[in-house]
């Protein structure tokens, strides 16, 4: 009995490919800068009747925040593009994020809220995770394009027009940010609940469930 258990404990497997781990952490760093500096930029002319507490922002003043935002945007966009190309070409997305059905998502989210969603096999994403990871990819793409529409409303005016003009694109950019921040908060909360997922995002390894 003891022998069998020992064997199982040694069954480590790579669940997160190196490319995913690298792009994940670069992305986390870029998102942190983009959100914190973006909040500072938001405060210069708030779209809604509230401001972000200055302590949560990056840049010190509007000019500093813009410098951070327009520097980190390259990191976010290039890293994001590398991740998307890898995910599509390698079949990573197809294997990990698909298939996904609304029914399964609702079921798993309800189970998760009741604290009953098992997460023994880290190599498999449940439907709640799949929907969150897909949503964050979509939010990221929307953020990059709406950001481009705000930054270059003359040079890429066709894109800006699709997003409701300059002022419309600002709203889209904000809503996508809010969605992204919400998903990240839930994501980090889940990692705290299941801490062994955290080192796996560095080493890539986890014990295979059998």
């Amino acid at each position: 009995m003891k022998e069998v258990q020992k064997d199982r404990a040694e069954e480590w497997t790579i669940i997160h490919p190196l490319a995913v781990r690298i792009t994940h952490w670069i992305n986390a760093f870029a998102i942190l800068i983009m959100v914190a500096s973006g909040w500072r930029i938001y405060n210069a002319a708030p779209l809604f009747p509230f401001k972000i507490p200055a302590d949560l922002t990056l840049g010190g003043w509007l000019g500093g925040a813009l410098q951070w935002h327009f520097a980190a945007m390259w990191l976010l966009a290039i890293n994001g593009l590398a991740y998307l190309v890898y995910g599509i070409v390698s079949g990573h997305f197809r294997r990990k994020l698909l298939p996904i059905s609304p029914k399964a998502v609702i079921h798993d989210v309800v189970e998760a809220l009741r604290g009953k969603l098992a997460h023994d096999d880290l190599s498999m994403y449940n439907a709640a995770q799949r929907s969150a990871y897909l949503a964050i990819i979509v939010a990221g793409i929307v953020l990059v394009f709406s950001g481009l529409a705000i930054w270059k409303p003359v040079q890429v005016q066709e894109l800006t027009a699709i997003l409701g003009g300059y002022e419309g694109a600002r709203v889209v950019h904000f809503v996508a940010m809010a969605l992204l921040v919400l998903i990240v908060l839930v994501h980090v909360f889940m990692v705290i609940l299941v801490p062994r997922t955290f080192p796996a995002m560095f080493t890539g390894r986890a014990k295979r469930a059998s």
Partner: protein, 252 residues
């Protein structure tokens, strides 16, 4: 082999301990990640090494925007009905400190790589061919407003004064001690106007009497008001906000 064995026994014996350490490590790393943001944004930004990178990226962005800029891409123009009712006043000082320029004695001074450097009076400037535009003014802060400006195409004016349009920059000095500079490509853009009127009225002091360079292809702060002198040069002239860290090109 030996290593694997050690790992196996380790994880068997002290799995709960590892769990605890992992949790602690996670908290610690999470906290330091949070600290990066919580460290008042100022401190990180003012670090010399960080500032060097950020300034370098801003120069790189100047190049990227210059490459993206198209001479033939026109900013959208709007109908009269789209004009913002009360157009915001904005400057680096308050509305009670607006500079008053005497129109009668006013003369626009020219310098640098320009053939005919004689100064221009307002009646002479008003006599140049005038055109109007209703475009969106986008502030670096994020807000925007639609206004109507009228004046002479800046390209026409540069041609009239014999400016060397192969030079890199056009710089401006203003009555309110503001100063800025633009790239020659934008100076020659068909929608770049040297304007004397706002909403069909002589430009009020609030909006930059006697003239404002209007560029719908650049952010608001790049559009100088109360222009007293301009010069053409190949040496980077900077600007009031640009010298403090705003991106120089700041194109739309």
């Amino acid at each position: 082999m030996k290593k694997r064995g050690m790992e196996g026994s380790l994880s068997e014996q002290s799995a709960s301990l590892i769990g605890k350490i992992e949790r602690r490590l996670f908290l610690k790393q999470g906290l330091s990640l949070g600290a990066l943001v919580l460290l008042s944004g100022c401190e990180v930004t003012e670090d010399e090494g960080v500032q060097k990178i950020l300034t370098g990226m801003s120069r790189w962005n100047d190049g990227a925007q210059s490459w993206l800029f198209s001479q033939s891409k026109l900013a959208p123009e709007y109908p009269e009905s789209a004009i913002t009712k009360s157009f915001p006043f904005n400057a680096f000082y308050g509305e009670d400190e607006i500079t008053e320029v005497d129109g009668k004695s006013y003369k626009l001074e020219l310098a640098g790589m320009i053939r005919e450097k004689k100064s221009w009076t307002l009646p002479e400037l008003y006599a140049l061919p005038q055109t109007s535009q209703i475009t969106r003014h986008i502030c670096v802060e994020g807000w925007s407003a639609v206004g109507k400006w009228s004046g002479v195409r800046f390209g026409t004016f540069l041609e009239r004064i014999g400016a060397d349009t192969s030079a890199k920059y056009v710089g401006f000095k203003c009555a309110d001690d503001y100063y800025t500079s633009i790239d020659m490509a934008t100076a020659l853009h068909p929608q770049t106007l040297l304007t004397f009127r706002f909403a069909d009225q002589i430009l009020p002091p609030k909006y930059g009497f006697p003239m404002k360079l209007r560029m719908p292809t650049k952010l608001g702060f790049k559009n100088p008001k109360h222009i007293m002198a301009m010069f053409v040069t190949n040496e980077y002239p900077g600007g009031y906000w640009e010298d403090q860290g705003y991106n120089w090109f700041s194109g739309s």
